[in-house]
């Protein structure tokens, strides 16, 4: 009997992730690892982690990684890539990190067309810090800083990072995917691979925005969070390739 699906070697053999049950950070980390292995570039990989739950896999993965000050992952990745152009440099950031605290760094790096890859996890809420409202929080969605739900007049509207970056000239590739179904997981893996290939081919800034769940801070069971993604998140954040040049 042959093993046809093996646990990726880019996750440490004896480790259990620190994520909550049903959290899709783990799914995305696994996909990144599988892509690195398939492309045979694990040794070249240099990951810049954002602050928040995304930093939890610091001791879980088995390739080089560092953590940037909150929001500044794209700036740190810029330095790493310029100093070591042969490395595959990618950031792994949540919505609070990429779209709120690091908005300036994120948009500037995209505008410069830095030859880095951004894996952007959009679950519409701050996770580790306690369920505060993020720029991507849906209208009406409850957060610890918006106990009655997000109100447009008071808090503004959800931000669409792919569409915002699509206004810039430089970015090479912007795609939004999800991990809520097996088909979407396969599409996410393909998107990550394409974003990495773009970097190796010197095409410039690529971003994959992945719509995921946060069952703990959404106050839902893991399975119910899949329905929430389908019914609430995806109508606001439609999936697809926003730019591919």
């Amino acid at each position: 009997m042959e093993k046809i699906y093996a646990r990726t070697k880019t996750i440490q053999e004896d480790k259990v992730s620190g994520f909550c049950p049903g959290c899709m950070h783990g799914t995305v980390i696994k996909l990144i690892g599988e892509v690195l292995e398939e492309m045979n570039i694990v040794d070249k990989a240099a990951c810049v982690l954002g602050i928040g739950c995304c930093g939890l896999h610091m001791d879980y993965i088995a390739y080089d990684n560092t953590t940037a000050p909150h929001g500044r992952a794209c700036a740190v990745a810029t330095g790493m890539k310029r100093a070591n152009p042969e490395s595959l440099v990618f950031t792994y950031q949540g919505d609070g990190d990429f779209a709120s605290i690091g908005l300036g760094e994120s948009v500037s790096a995209a505008n410069r067309g830095e030859n880095i890859t951004v894996i952007f996890i959009n679950n519409g809420i701050y996770g580790m810090t306690g369920g505060q409202m993020a720029p991507t929080t849906l209208i009406g969605m409850k957060a610890s800083t918006a106990p009655k739900g997000r109100i447009a007049e008071e808090h503004g509207y959800p931000m669409h990072m792919c569409e915002i970056l699509n206004q810039l000239t430089a970015p090479a590739y912007l795609e939004r995917t999800s991990c809520n179904t097996p088909a979407n997981v396969v599409k996410t893996k393909k998107a990550i691979r394409k974003a990495f290939e773009n970097q190796l081919n010197g095409k410039g800034f690529s971003m994959v925005e992945i719509v995921t769940s946060c069952p703990t801070n959404w106050g839902l069971e893991a399975l119910d969070s899949l329905t929430y993604i389908e019914e609430k998140m995806l109508p606001e954040f439609p999936l697809g390739v926003i730019r591919d040049k």
Partner: protein, 67 residues
């Protein structure tokens, strides 16, 4: 003939594998692991078609598939 192997210590009982398995191979068992999660177990292994959907959906890389 196919087989899934589940690392019970990695499982957090999210049930994504149970929900998406097209053949009803997996279910949540009644034993708990050291973290207190009732982990997923194969209950109908003969039906497994080695599609790997359970392993792809698992956020905790707990499932490996043999064929």
């Amino acid at each position: 003939m196919a087989r899934v192997e589940i690392r019970s210590e990695s499982c957090k009982s999210c049930q994504y594998c149970v929900k998406f398995c097209p053949k009803g191979v997996l279910a949540i068992g009644d034993k708990v692991n050291s973290k207190g999660y009732e982990y997923s177990v194969p209950v109908n292994m003969e039906a497994c078609i080695a599609c790997c959907i359970c392993a792809r959906m698992c956020p905790d890389a707990a499932i490996e598939v043999y064929k």
